[in-house]
Symmetry: C2
């Protein structure tokens, strides 16, 4: 998922040390991650560089998952795909080994979370295909650069994330409800936020909805499915963007024998400028 | 390929009859095509509707081709993918049967053109996956709507199309040179053309080059690889867009046992607004 908070098996890195990290070049940060020395959320690290959600699947599921992403580009913007069995993400950087360069991995078996690890070299299969999908860290940074206040960052949280009743377009065994993240804005700022995020089709692009949460099947804004509640103040409207948790819901529905994703918030940091 | 001219096994439809067609609703045009009654180029038909290039491949080649498209979005903008073995393009229209609804098909065996047909029901395999890619008909219409003169239409031709020395990013067996189409513009119109085509990422988007043809390996503008020569007048610059012939070059390089594409210019007309 993009950046919703769940308990992590990774180490929590103190804010002071994280601030030091954030200044390092991408290659140094990835080396630290590769050594297993950083297993925490990557938000704010390597500003300006594209970060991505990860899904690794056996080849027999890969074409259906590719089709699922093509049919659902807002929640699933494909930014990189590995060659079958090749762990190097050659189109995303000079030296990205997808088996070691994500801080923390979730390992799903038959669609159920079966474990976490900082390194999946022992699990790698010759038929694995790795998919990297754009995440909302990029557009959060762009919204901030555009002068738009982000409440979840102001209160030190991640956005509220909800499963909606809006179906995604299925492909093979993949399908399920669209997952969205919510950010509250004044109406003029909501307009501006739509304008800014339109420039980031690889990071979920424009919102899928604003206003009445019930219109997309959200019963209670105070009880998000992931992350904590975020206040919507008088005069503000909630704005909902497609979220990178969506493919994880689809993968749980597909129940592949094995699937490996990043742990929530612990993204792949690429060499691509966001 | 997008709209370069090659000799067709299809019937050439007189301009007067074509003008009648163009007014029909999409479903009526596709019914006519499905019956085998129209096997000609589709440019100008069903204005405003998305038309697409076609590539049908066996499943064992599908994931590599999906990855090739992801890595080369300008020449290969995926707009629709079928489910394996399902000939209905469910995300592109209410009733599109990809075995009958393209005016004329090219059939490649081991990468070589082996025949043409108006109907491929006898060739359909349970493991086929059909890929539809955006084509430049959409942005030619947008350029015209934006008041930009298109020389190739003024002289009743298709754009000049060239193989460049710019390599595409390979994926599995797919690779080869980028193919481009050329349109000449005055400098202010070239700027405007870039602005307009930026809004059509699913129809090759912004140009890949303007100016010196030699910079992308084009030795002689009077000898295009497909289509006829198009004059570049004094004060004009040639502007080069990625072209939908590119994946056909990649498919020839991959040499799959069978691959079926549209015949040049004879596109799938979808129910999607361009």
């Amino acid at each position: 998922m993009d950046n919703a908070v769940e308990p992590l098996a990774g180490s929590h890195v103190p804010a002071s040390e994280r601030r030091e990290f954030a200044k390092e070049p991408v290659s140094a940060i990835r080396t630290r991650i590769r050594r297993g020395a950083f297993a925490d959320q990557t938000g704010g690290l390597a500003p300006g560089m594209l970060q991505g959600n990860l899904a690794i699947l056996p080849a027999s599921y890969a074409q259906d998952f590719s089709t699922y992403c093509q049919r659902n580009p807002k929640p699933c913007p494909l930014v990189g795909v590995s060659d079958r069995g090749d762990p190097m993400m050659r189109t995303l950087g000079a030296d990205i080994d997808i088996r070691t360069d994500v801080p923390l991995y979730n390992i799903y078996r038959d669609g159920e979370l079966a474990g976490q690890s900082r390194d999946i070299r022992d699990l790698w299969q010759d038929d694995f295909v790795a998919f990297v999908l754009g995440c909302s860290y990029s557009f959060d940074a762009a919204l901030q650069a555009g002068g738009l206040p982000l409440r979840h960052l102001e209160v030190g949280r991640t956005p509220s994330v909800f499963v909606t009743n809006v179906p995604t377009v299925p492909a093979g065994p993949f399908g399920g409800g669209l997952v969205v993240s919510m950010r509250p804005f004044s109406v003029p700022n909501a307009v501006r936020a739509i304008e800014v995020t339109a420039r980031y089709p690889n990071a979920h692009g424009t919102p899928v909805h604003f206003g009445d949460p019930a219109a997309i099947g959200i019963a209670d804004m105070d009880r998000p499915d992931w992350g904590g509640p975020i206040d919507v103040l008088p005069g503000e409207v909630p704005v909902f963007w497609a979220c990178g948790v969506t493919p994880q819901v689809a993968i749980r529905q597909a129940r592949p024998p094995i699937c490996i994703t990043h742990a929530p918030g612990c993204m792949l940091i690429t060499d691509i400028e966001a």
